[in-house]
């Protein structure tokens, strides 16, 4: 069975800003296999977010070929890319991006509803929240949650539909060190228990230390691709949640 989740060959992305062309990616070659826990690192403007957007079928490459879960992104229509995101991909954003008028459980449930899950969706959404230690916060709206809690809800939303590939763009950038640690443990747990593939971008060395593989982008090119020989120590937490912190305590 082909366990290649992501296959990028000579991927180039050029943005046009007025009359100026900006080359965000300059021929990236990268293979990501099922179950990897991969960190994309590099300075600002190195192309991390652009690569994640392409990997998430939010955008198409200007040149080169990019296959996500065996499908060439450039060949897919807008609707087909949306279908792929809904069915097989999960996203975690730097700014959490929860729907502010929905509660935590509704945010998770909404994705399940989009996927066509029927009467079971509330139970499934609560189960995911419970797994991430958020059961007590299920009926709170994002504004009533701390940054760390919001990001955990965002992870719950991303993984509720059991996607094969989860993409996280600077998921810990707005979190303090403790919450960043908790989040990384959570993601590792999910990867270890459910075999999901995680690709996340980060600047934070503490976060990088959790990665199994670290790819460094510089000026839109892969400058270094390091697979760690032994997995970093990771304790699977029986219940990840900690006592709810106060809103705004990110």
């Amino acid at each position: 069975m082909n366990d290649l989740v992501l296959d990028a060959r000579g991927v180039t992305k050029v943005f046009r800003q007025g009359k100026v062309e900006v080359q965000a990616l300059r021929g990236v070659d990268l293979e990501v296999r099922q179950g990897e826990f991969l960190a994309l690192v590099g300075p600002s403007g190195s192309g991390k977010t652009t690569f994640l957007n392409l990997a998430g079928a939010l955008d198409v490459p200007t040149a080169g070929t990019l296959e996500v879960l065996g499908r060439r992104v450039a060949d897919l229509t807008r609707g087909e890319r949306a279908e792929m995101r809904l069915g097989q991909l999960g996203f975690v954003f730097q700014a959490f991006n929860l729907v502010p008028v929905l509660t935590a459980v509704e945010n998770v449930e909404f994705v399940l509803e989009l996927r066509g899950v029927g009467s079971e969706r509330r139970r499934q959404a609560l189960a995911v929240l419970e797994e991430l230690g958020l059961a007590d916060l299920a009926r709170r709206r994002p504004a009533e949650l701390s940054g760390g809690q919001q990001q955990r809800v965002a992870v719950a939303r991303a993984v509720a539909a059991k996607p094969r590939l989860v993409l996280a763009d600077e998921p810990t950038a707005n979190l303090d060190g403790e919450n960043a640690e908790i989040l990384m443990h959570l993601m590792r747990d999910l990867r270890d228990r459910q075999g999901m593939t995680f690709v996340f971008s980060t600047h934070d060395p503490r976060v990088v230390s959790h990665a199994v593989r670290v790819v460094t982008l510089v000026d839109g090119r892969v400058a270094r691709d390091e697979a760690k020989p032994g997995e970093p120590p990771h304790e699977i937490l029986p219940r990840v949640g900690k006592a709810p912190d106060a809103p705004g305590a990110a």
Binding site: G79, A95, N97, E113
Partner: protein, 411 residues
Amino acid sequence: MAWVEGRYAARSVGRNLRRTALSVVGIGVGVGLALFMESVNRGREGLFARAAAYSGAGHLRVVPAGWRLRRDPRLRLHDWRADLEAARALPGARVAAPRARAQALLAMGTHVLTVEMVGVDAEVEPRAYRFVRTMAEGRWLEPGEAGSVVLGKAAAERLHAELGDDVLATAVGQRGGIESAMFRIVGLVASGSEDLDASVCQVTLEGLAQLAGTAGAGEVAVILADHHTTPEARAALAARVASGDEVMTFEEITPEFGGHLKQDAATSRFVNGVILLIVFLGVASAQLAAVLERRREFAVLSALGMGGRRMVRLVLLEALGLGSAGAALGVALGLPAAWHFARHGLDFSSFMGEGYSFQGLLIEPVIYADVGPWMVPFVAAVAFGATVLASLYPAWFAARIDPAVALRVAQ
């Protein structure tokens, strides 16, 4: 409807309360105004239809074939009794009145007056002809009485005649000869309009037959309980009348009046259209602002896999929320006003006087607004139609947001 999506749409409407309130007030005022205008417009249509019906035209009239083109009062129905029976059996018919007409010259002493003499069924006519109810002097005709006439007061004045005087009527008979007969004035009517009063000259069918030398009726006027059913009633009656006779509506009988009615209705609807256009633009602007404000949110939804159609549906659901609130406010504003004028009327008598006539029809100076079940679909169509249509562009805009660009801009 999907539950979370519905809750999401409903709560999104409440996100920016000030903008939502302004949108709802805009829709509500527009719907209320449109409701009130339509109510008055329908009331006016009803008034005109009533004016036409009770001034002699009826809502429907059975006429001999050929009358439509020639308008010759000497034409008679092929079988007026069969037509009358068919008209009386018509569902929704309030009254059916047979009539015959003749152009006549009335003379008294040295004074003469040209009139259209109308022969009527004395028993039925008071229910079909409003001027009979405005007897100023004397009495109405008795059934079968051949030598009596009821004149308009102005007609009598022009003849210098009074109640009880005899007038000589001369008409062209069926074979082209001059026929004459004497009639005694038994009643005078005063409608309030001198023009109309100068034209009122009614005798019994028997009296007219005596003068014109032709028995029978030239028309059967039908008054319906509800003028809105005129087209259906016309079709039903046309299938039942005697061969050689046909059915016309009051708008066909008085085409100038019908044209005026249509022009009036078109003007009202144009004004309604302008009101709705303003509502439409207001809602479109508010909805577009709401979508632009939530650009990143829509980008995130798109990133999560929400398709374009679903995004359009979400925005339209929000529009339905606004439309519902606007419809409720519109009813709260428009219905009491319409209700008030349905009960008390809009009185134009100070502008028109009591006896305003148009195209030979006496128009009442008070318009009663029409309040009825039609308001439910009307409000729904106006409120939801305007808001949903106005939200189509914002919805399309939301569906076309490029998630990668929107998220990049947000960052």
